[in-house]
Symmetry: C2
Subunit: 376 residues, 2 copies
């Protein structure tokens, strides 16, 4: 059996848009949600694209995500705002908040918008890139269900807490988007599916000891039984554990603290989501000639790419470069969606009464028959 089915960008866009329309979002909202999701797949970050559809589906079903939520700006100054998300869709709140930060930064030079009571918003980098596309420095952060175990603890207290930053440069923008944990939960799920032992510096069992057992760690995370993923830098101060934990805290400050929202350890408990985000936009023009600053960054990035390589390496990447190539490739050659995700998309078609063959093709339709036969 094939491991994946290749779909064109247009085909996935049509499927996704119609699915979110069926959920009850309006056309403008669907355009935003779908753009966030598909940008992730186009960038090669599969974990946050089509693969997350099932999560949004469940979130809507359970009432964690409220389709009719009306966000409110509860505090505002010319350089800042706090948005009460009222359990709305994360992508819509993220887009609204970063748009507001951009609007303010264009007037004042810089702005920060903090959002509470939202939901999973896709890739953090999407929103950083929104500012970058307007010639600004963009930063985007989010907390999440607790998954990071602080140094010397055995209980997850912070989320994967990604920090993204994007800044205009030639020939590619600088674009950095990474969790402050050593890896994300998605990576553990992949190791689990492949039945591979986890690398040494990734995860902790429920006693707070190193674990290579992906299945056990994931089970404990879901049950909130203890353990989780290590901060970037592992579990000891010698390898810098307290630093990853510190960057996780930085993220928490801009997301849950400034918005008076839920810190990661209190989100996703008792039928409540409560995810918080933070968005920063800065106009380089308040530091001088924005064109010259962009050129200065571009020169440094080029010097990095051209620096002497380590023995056995033939390329040094600057952040954002891989995404540029992945985007181009996938727009031209389509997006390979893994078969497990396609099965979830088939389920979604059934749930939303969408024709499987029309949206996902004959192969997917057969996949479901095959799957059904396994079920019997």
């Amino acid at each position: 059996m094939k491991n994946s089915i290749n779909y064109s960008y247009e085909a996935l866009k049509k499927f996704c848009t119609d699915a979110f329309l069926k959920f009850g979002f309006n056309k403008d909202e669907c355009d935003i949600i779908v753009d966030v999701l598909l940008t992730s797949d186009l960038y090669g970050i599969e974990s946050h694209g089509m693969q997350r559809l099932v999560r949004y589906h469940k979130g809507i079903e359970k009432g964690l995500i409220k389709i009719d939520a009306k966000p409110e700006i509860v505090f505002e100054t010319p350089v800042s705002a706090v948005i009460e998300g009222n359990d709305g869709m994360g992508q819509l709140l993220g887009h609204k908040a970063m748009s507001l930060a951009i609007e303010k930064a264009k007037k004042t030079g810089m702005a920060i918008v903090s959002v509470r009571n939202s939901n999973h918003y896709g890739i953090a980098g999407y929103y950083a890139k929104m500012a970058c596309n307007e010639g600004l420095i963009g930063m985007s952060m989010t907390n999440s269900e607790a998954i990071m175990v602080p140094t010397f603890a055995r209980k997850a207290m912070l989320g994967s807490n990604p920090i993204a930053i994007a800044m205009p440069a030639e020939p590619y923008d600088f674009f950095f988007d990474a969790s402050t944990t050593v890896v994300t939960r998605g990576k553990l799920e992949i190791y689990n599916k492949l039945d591979k032992p986890l690398p040494d510096m990734w995860a902790l069992d429920k006693e707070g000891k190193k674990s290579s057992d992906a299945s056990d760690v994931l089970k404990n995370i879901v049950a909130k039984a203890g353990g989780g993923i290590m901060p970037l830098g592992g579990e000891t101060e010698q390898s810098g554990s307290h630093k990853g934990y510190g960057y996780g805290m930085l993220c928490e400050i801009f997301c849950s603290i400034l918005s008076m929202g839920l810190t990661s350890n209190h989100t996703h408990i008792g039928g409540k989501g409560g995810t918080c985000h933070g968005f920063i936009a800065i106009d380089p023009a308040v530091f001088g000639d924005a064109g010259a600053i962009k050129e200065h960054l571009s020169t440094f990035l080029q010097e990095l790419r051209e620096a002497p390589k380590a023995d056995g390496q033939d390329r040094i990447y600057t952040h954002g470069e891989k995404e540029v190539f992945a985007y181009k490739d996938r727009m031209e050659n389509g997006i390979d969606v893994n078969i497990g995700t396609v099965a979830e998309m088939v389920d979604l078609c059934k749930y939303l009464d969408m024709d499987i063959k029309t949206y996902l093709g004959e192969e997917a339709e057969q996949l479901t028959l095959q799957k059904s036969s396994y079920d019997m």
Copy 2:
């Protein structure tokens, strides 16, 4: 022989102040420089206190640090400024720049000041704490002589590039200050002195391969022969190397890029320093009730300290806690200055024609005789 001599805070303050007066700084300037240096020792960050005196001495001697430098604000808006440091003392430029950021943030809500052509400014956290002491969120970053080898490279291209953030909380402020490399050069120097092999994920030799040989790595760094220290996250993407490299880039953007200064790979070449810094001040009051926000952070920090501990651990630290206890202890019981550093302080006394016994005591005076006898 003793490994260290214990001095009171007051004794070190007197010695340091008089030394910088002798170098030609005025009393107000000396107060700032000495406070930055001694705060580091009081916080337990020995690598950046008295131990750095020799570096400032050499910097002044070589003309890298210009005592009469007049900093200029070359670009300014209500939320931002760029300061041309004209090779001034890092502590003075740092203090001036953060003071300006604080002043602006109190009026506008937030501000960023970027500084070019400065010198080593001590601990990044000092300046973050300045803002915190005024009820603001403070951030401080600096680039430095290239020491971080980017993922897949074999040449150091970024500095140790610390990022510090401080925010008011009870009973201790949140205070995070860490290099974006897995460790700093100071740690390698300690391993070298003790003749200990370096841990696996710290350093690279001149071919870009893992090295446990502190002496060889340090020699190559000085000679700019290749190799250096790994980013936080080590040398592979599996352990998150690209993330530490990314945080190093974030630092570089706020320091050298926005100020149009020298990126780390161009500093400290050909008799030029060129260090750049970045300072951010944010007033929590532009997000709502600053008192409530402070309480919210304090609650989260308390929850972290009280979280279940890993097997074999009895304490979870929040960032800034260790410094609070070190400060209290050293103010009460004095500061142990290691004997190598005392020897450097004795040299400085001789150079500046200061009476060794008066400033550093009989033990130190004997130390120099002993040292001299070794020299013969």
